[in-house]
């Protein structure tokens, strides 16, 4: 074929491998970057924040409410003031962000409980940042099941664990009811790290040849755009897969993210994300005249990826225009896919609506890259 010759392509691949092997900085980036970023982001963006401000609205105090509240305190998630609030004060605290939780016990809670009338405890959650409150909520659910068991046993001698003497928790997510996903951050971080390193490493690759003067030599040789572009990214695919493994190991061992789905699927979609980002990087490097420009373009791509992909802010809480931009970006779809696989055990059927946009993106950018990579010095 005129525009693609396997042995010419292979010569580029080999050359890139040799060069990466000697490039200490890149090697360091491959190894250290995911670890540094994971620990920085993973711990700084605390996935499991404790001491969330909680207001209690309480009509009457009893043994039961006291032990419920102390059980809540013991989880460490809830920071409960001794002073009680009125419903209106609590509402205002929630609105202004002074409190993340408001727990309201109904009038006559203890009496209803003892008469087995299943009183309803209302829990209002500020869900604008779902990851902040997710773990606290699950702790709350556990407390609800066990907290009053001992007290009730004491009073009415319930033997059976499915005690009829119980109450209902009504959880009311305020401000962003659909946004709650547990373990949002780490799978999301995987896409962010892969995007960042892949784009950063390749966006310099052709630019570097241009600055060192070796591009003139390469251009004077009979090698076609497609061979250069695809040949140059091959070693980085392997680099990406290594990083992917590092991140998954960290996610599992350090952050204990659940792995519900198929690992092969995880790697397949990660490969797709890697490809899409390598295409972006190589296209940037074909366009950039120098390394500064390459870095600027990298950030130009990177900012919306972080801000509009649903990684930083809940996607459906963003304005329409931001959602449109977000939907173009591969990271947006990858975040949904990877969370779907890891957390919900999604298979290909469920994730495909978010897979083809990444494919389309990669293909489009590759064509752009081939188009912008000129075979001349003009």
């Amino acid at each position: 074929m005129r525009y693609f010759n396997l042995s010419r392509w292979w010569s580029i691949v080999l050359k890139e491998f040799l060069q990466i092997r000697r490039d200490r900085l890149t090697l360091g980036m491959i190894g250290a970057l995911p670890i540094i970023q994971l620990t920085l982001f993973g711990f700084a963006i605390n996935t499991d924040p404790k001491h969330l401000k909680t207001d209690i609205v309480l009509a009457e105090q009893s043994e039961f409410t006291r032990s419920f509240i102390s059980a809540l305190r013991n989880t460490g998630y809830f920071d409960i003031e001794d002073a009680l609030s009125s419903q209106s004060e609590a509402d205002a605290a929630l609105a202004s962000g002074r409190a993340q939780f408001v727990i309201s016990f109904p009038n006559g809670f203890s009496a209803q409980l003892l008469k087995d009338q299943k009183p309803k405890v209302l829990v209002e959650v500020d869900a604008t940042d779902p990851t902040t409150t997710a773990n606290a909520l699950s702790a709350l659910n556990k407390v609800a099941q066990s907290a009053l068991k001992r007290d009730l046993n004491h009073v009415v001698h319930v033997v059976d664990s499915n005690s009829p003497y119980s109450y209902e928790l009504m959880i009311h997510k305020r401000y962003n009811p659909e946004g709650i996903t547990q373990y949002n951050i780490i799978p999301g971080l995987m896409g962010v790290i892969l995007s960042m390193t892949m784009v950063m490493m390749t966006s310099l690759s052709i630019t570097r040849e241009r600055e060192r003067g070796t591009l003139e030599n390469l251009l004077a040789m009979p090698v076609e755009a497609l061979e250069v572009i695809s040949g140059k990214i091959i070693p980085y695919i392997i680099v990406g897969l290594i990083q992917c493994t590092t991140i998954l190991l960290f996610a599992k061992l350090l952050f204990r993210v659940p792995f519900e789905g198929n690992m092969l699927t995880v790697y397949a979609v990660s490969l797709l994300l890697i490809l899409a980002n390598l295409m972006v990087g190589i296209t940037i490097s074909a366009l950039a005249r120098n390394q500064l420009q390459a870095m600027q373009m990298t950030f130009f791509y990177f900012l919306p990826s972080i801000l509009l992909s649903g990684f930083m802010f809940p996607f459906f809480g963003m304005p329409k225009w931001a959602q449109i931009i977000g939907n173009v970006l591969p990271l947006t779809h990858f975040n949904r896919v990877i969370r779907g696989i890891l957390l919900k055990g999604n298979g290909w059927v469920e994730i495909f609506p978010n897979v083809w946009p990444i494919m389309l993106f990669a293909l489009t950018v590759m064509l752009l890259g081939v188009f912008f990579y000129k075979n001349t010095m003009d």
Binding site: S11, I12, L14, R212, G213, A220, V223, T376, M377
Partner: protein, 309 residues
């Protein structure tokens, strides 16, 4: 002669960089098997012209062929057959000598790659240093490596852009011997240079200044075309005489060559009067000599500078 006898023919090539007209109406022919010298001061457009010939730059207008292939429409064919050595060393400094040669040989799909690379290393006397990084070589070795690499695919035409800049005299002499051996095998060579002694070693020459080709031919033809008469003056206080003569009628240039002055001009009678008036009576020794290529180049440079300033 037909186009088949030419390794390179270009007609009316023009190239602009923004408002700057870097190459103006360049027409040039390089014959099969000759060493063609491309001379001109820095920034005169030599590199730009060579890049247009090997398909690296698209001319704004004009046409040309390289080894019979169109330099605009058949670039891939041209690139496959031409050996180009860039002005600045442009092999990969973070690859070893062998890796560089191996990469180039693979890319050109050289048959018996391994054997060819081994042989090249042997000829370069670099077999023992094959694993050394190219970036650690000295200027002279880099230039030899670059030449060897550009010859791996056995091109019929070599385009060498100032290959000997910054290389010591012995290495230059060896380099030129190699070029003559290559030419003897029928390889056509275009070589741009600053050095006068190298110009004398070329079969034919072209002189370019401010993007304009001023003169082309053998060195004898160029000397003849210029029609300069040159006087050689020896004696004392030459520095003073130099200054005096520069302002005199008929004198186009005065150049100090060691212990002698070369005074040249196209108007022979006027020049004779001037020289006799100033140089004979004060105990100087003046005689007419053959105009050298160097006198011609200095004259070309002066005239074109005069036209632009």
């Amino acid at each position: 002669m037909t186009t088949a006898d030419y390794a390179v023919t270009v007609e009316g090539l023009n190239k602009h960089f923004g408002a700057h007209h870097a190459v103006k109406n360049l027409s040039m022919q390089i014959r099969q098997g000759e060493i063609f010298g491309f001379l001109g001061p820095n920034g005169s457009g030599k590199t730009t012209s060579i890049r247009m010939m090997c398909g690296l730059l698209t001319p704004d207008s004009g046409s040309g062929t390289c080894l019979g292939y169109d330099i605009i429409r058949q670039r891939a064919e041209v690139k496959r057959r031409v050996g180009y050595m860039t002005q600045r060393f442009s092999y990969w400094e973070d690859l070893s000598i062998r890796e560089n040669l191996d990469f180039v040989a693979r890319l050109y799909q050289v048959p018996n790659r391994k054997a060819v690379v081994d042989e090249t290393l042997e000829e370069l006397q670099l077999t023992s240093r094959a694993k050394q990084l190219a970036g650690s070589l000295s200027g002279g070795w880099k230039q030899r490596l670059a030449l060897a690499a550009s010859l791996l695919h056995k091109p019929k035409l070599l385009l060498l852009d100032e290959p000997t800049a910054g290389v010591d005299p012995t290495a230059r002499r060896i380099f030129w011997e190699e070029l003559h051996q290559l030419a003897a095998k029928g390889i056509s060579i275009l070589v741009s240079t600053h050095y006068m002694d190298e110009a004398e070693r070329c079969h034919r020459l072209a002189y370019i200044s401010y993007g304009e080709l001023l003169c082309q031919g053998t060195s004898a033809e160029m000397i003849q075309q210029r029609q300069l008469t040159t006087w050689q003056i020896t004696g004392r206080h030459l520095v003073q005489l130099n200054r005096t003569l520069e302002a005199c009628p008929g004198v186009e240039q005065v150049v100090a060559f060691g212990t002698a002055l070369h005074v040249s001009g196209t108007q022979a009678e006027l020049l004779r009067d001037t020289v006799e008036q100033h140089a004979t009576r004060e105990g100087y020794d003046a005689k007419i000599i053959d105009t050298s290529l160097e006198d011609v180049f200095i004259n070309l440079m002066k005239t074109s500078e005069g036209a632009f300033n």
